[in-house]
């Protein structure tokens, strides 16, 4: 079971993971599950009807827009990083938060490394399955390293130009 770190009010904490990741070729266990977009499109209605919490995993080539009308019913969206260099999920996360106002969990899964923590947090991710064994303390350290930011994003940090205007 991978480590799950959640950001809560700026603090990174170790969290229990109530969800099970389920691949398309696996049979569904009971309880809360994270499934692919394809599987969600086929079985989502039924699963939600069973009263369980459902999360959908998007691959980098799948766009957040595909979930636009389902978001209110989803507990979480997992954004997959097959390689840390693939930056498409940063856009997906901002679209989920800023365009669709998604309030649920956005979880980074896959090749998720400590050095990306600040970018992810700023784009609206609030849960992480680090692939590099990072502890919550290390994770939080990275997200707090810069006292200032220059641009608005999906987090609540005040950009430099607003700080200056005060």
């Amino acid at each position: 079971m991978p480590t799950l770190i959640k950001l809560q009010g700026g603090r990174a904490v170790l969290a229990n993971d109530a969800f099970t990741h389920v691949d398309d070729d696996q049979s569904l266990p009971p309880g809360d599950v994270i499934i692919s977009l394809t599987r969600f499109q086929a079985d989502g209605e039924r699963l939600l009807g069973e009263g369980r919490s459902v999360g959908v995993r998007l691959e980098p080539n799948e766009e957040a827009e595909a979930l636009a009308y389902d978001l209110p019913r989803l507990a979480l969206v997992a954004l997959a990083f097959p390689k840390f260099r693939d930056g498409r999920q940063y856009s997906n996360s901002r679209v989920l938060r800023e365009r669709f106002g998604f309030q649920g969990e956005i979880r980074a899964v896959g090749d998720v490394l400590r050095e990306q923590a600040i970018f992810m947090a700023r784009c609206g991710f609030d849960a992480f399955e680090p692939a590099d064994g990072s502890t919550p303390e290390q994770w939080e350290h990275v997200t707090r390293r810069f006292r200032h930011v220059y641009q608005p994003a999906a987090d609540d940090r005040t950009p430099a130009f607003v700080e200056r205007g005060r």
């Binding site: 260099r85 930056g87 856009s91 784009c123 590099d132 390293r145 200032h148 430099a160 205007g165």
Partner: protein, 551 residues
């Protein structure tokens, strides 16, 4: 000039502290070179053939004296006493030790400098017209907008893992001194019908193995919406740019594949969904940035007796005036070019002592302001005409007054196989051979404007595609050969060069250049530059001259 405020200072200090921690983890063996690589690349630290290379950002090519002095100090203390200015107006130090890198970043942070985003698949250091704030032909000061872009793009959380690197250039003058049409995004300031300012937005230019001249996707973008519109372009690119093939990952490929019209439509669609009021800077912040660039000039007569006397007395100074001194918007002032292209030297290289001298001259005679040009030269933007003779004397003593701006010896060259791990062939010795053949300044001046650009590999850091004469190093079974192109230019009428013929061995390149110059001198009609003659005659007479022996 933009001076860092407390926020900017704390930002670069935090960045330097972060990097120190990361290097310590690497030196302690807590992370592998593979894991460290993306981290050091985010801070401009490359591993090259012989050592680490540090690329230091010089935003829009602007330096204060204290910054240039600090670069000199770093070059002397941590490198071999010199540095290399690049076509992206950055400074590269080629002999850096990893253990010194954190200390260097601290020293840079101390004078408001850094190496942020000088590498990696990020928005790179933004460039602007080196004549900004000094030329009469600009509509507005492009540095205001370049600084706006610098801040917005710095550690942008969404755009730090783009498909590929991303470069933005800004110009506000009719004459394009920034090569905006070969940038990922080129911004040209224009006036709208009602007199308001806006940008022509040019996207998808670039060199490398698939060179493209950029396409205009918006004729007029009101300046206040610059950042939200850039955000829309970058989001479309981040989501749809190719990531499966490094050679097809630049935005130029996406724009070419979709077509400029369809790309523009996608950007507009994205832009319409962005809350522009959150992203675009408020007028107060724009006014603050603008205020930083306000310079004051003395009221002076438009001509100078001191300068005229020196000109009459010394033909060498008169030549310097013709080649390296340009009109300033303010009567009684001039823009003075500092050539880093003395025949025999490495184009763009500068010693620590030379940097200190130019820093002193800038402080005393040029409003504490030095610029770096993409042609790998420096310039002093605000020199009083009365002071030009003294500035010239001091530059000449230091070997910095070669009167060759835009001439055949003002050659752009990448570091090539002498330093770079990507190169197939050397570029620097080729530049030196050509420059030596035209070292006679009378001859160089007779030939007139002729831009030679040399790249040591297809990545085209030396901009060979847009040289009047472009030279590209290739590897043929372990031997260095050079492909020649003619007729390229990155300016307003941007064009890519056409191939001359089969590649030439290293020993033949300078000779071929000389043969082509002879053809030009025979063919040229009144007032034609090399480029004009080539456009009229086409490649045939040049080809004939160079390959005559082979036939």
């Amino acid at each position: 000039m933009y001076r860092y405020d407390a926020i900017d200072k704390e930002f670069v200090a935090d960045r330097a502290a972060e990097f120190r921690e990361q290097v310590n983890r690497r030196l302690a063996g807590e992370i592998t070179e593979d894991q460290f690589k993306p981290i050091r690349l985010m801070n401009g630290l490359y591993l090259q053939l012989h050592a680490y290379m540090l690329r230091i950002a010089i935003p829009y090519g602007t330096l204060e004296s204290r910054q240039l002095r600090r670069l000199a100090h770093i070059a002397r203390t941590y490198d071999k006493g010199y540095g290399h200015f690049t076509t992206r107006t950055n400074l590269q130090l080629h002999w850096i030790k990893l253990k010194d890198a954190p200390e260097i970043l601290d020293q840079l942070a101390d004078v408001g400098m850094h190496a942020i985003q000088t590498s990696g698949n990020t928005i790179r250091n933004v460039t602007a017209d080196p004549y900004a704030g000094a030329t009469a032909d600009e509509l507005d000061d492009p540095r205001v907008w370049a600084e706006t872009v610098r801040q917005w793009s710095t550690l942008h959380p969404e755009f730090s893992y783009l498909p590929r690197k991303f470069k933005i250039a800004v110009t506000a003058a009719a004459k394009d001194r920034t090569a905006t049409k070969i940038y990922d995004i080129g911004l040209h300031l224009r006036r709208g019908r009602g007199g308001e300012l806006g940008f022509e937005v040019i996207v998808g230019g670039g060199l490398g193995r698939t060179p493209h001249i950029g396409s205009t996707i918006r004729e007029f973008l009101p300046t206040r919406h610059l950042l939200s519109y850039l955000e829309a372009i970058l989001r479309v690119y981040n989501r749809h740019g190719r990531r499966d093939n490094i050679f097809k990952a630049r935005i130029k490929i996406l724009v070419a594949t979709l077509g400029a019209e369809e790309f523009a439509r996608q950007v507009d669609e994205e832009w319409a969904k962005i809350d522009t009021s959150r992203i675009d800077l408020p007028d107060t912040e724009l006014a603050r940035i603008r205020g930083e660039f306000t310079a004051s000039f003395e009221t002076l007569p438009p001509s100078s007796a001191v300068l005229e006397a020196a000109k009459a007395a010394d033909p060498a100074f008169a030549r310097f005036l013709r080649r390296n001194v340009h009109p300033h918007k303010q009567p009684g002032y001039a823009i003075v070019d500092v050539s880093l292209k003395t025949p025999g030297q490495t184009p763009g290289d500068m010693t620590a002592e030379q940097m200190e001298l130019v820093a002193d001259l800038a402080q005393r005679y040029s409003g504490d302001d030095v610029r770096v040009t993409y042609q790998q030269n420096l310039l002093l933007p605000h020199v009083k005409l009365d002071d030009v003779p003294e500035v010239w004397r001091q530059l000449a003593e230091a070997g910095l007054a070669t009167p060759n701006i835009d001439l055949i010896t003002d050659i752009i060259a990448c570091p090539g196989l002498d330093y770079c791990a990507l190169a197939n062939a050397r570029a620097i010795p080729i530049a030196q051979h050509i420059a030596e053949r035209f070292a006679d300044p009378d001859r160089a001046e007779l030939v007139g404007e002729l831009n030679i650009k040399i790249s040591g590999c297809i990545n085209a850091c030396g901009h060979h595609h847009v040289g009047h004469i472009g030279i590209l190093g290739v590897d043929k079974k372990g031997e260095e050969f050079y492909q020649i192109t003619l007729g390229g230019t990155p300016e307003e009428q941007a064009a890519l060069g056409q191939a001359l013929g089969p590649a030439l061995p290293a020993t033949k390149v300078a000779e071929a250049v000389e043969q082509m110059v002879e053809v030009y001198l025979e063919e040229r009609k009144d007032g034609e530059r090399f480029l004009d003659t080539f456009r009229r005659t086409g490649v045939a007479p040049f080809k004939e001259a160079v390959y005559a022996d082979a036939n």
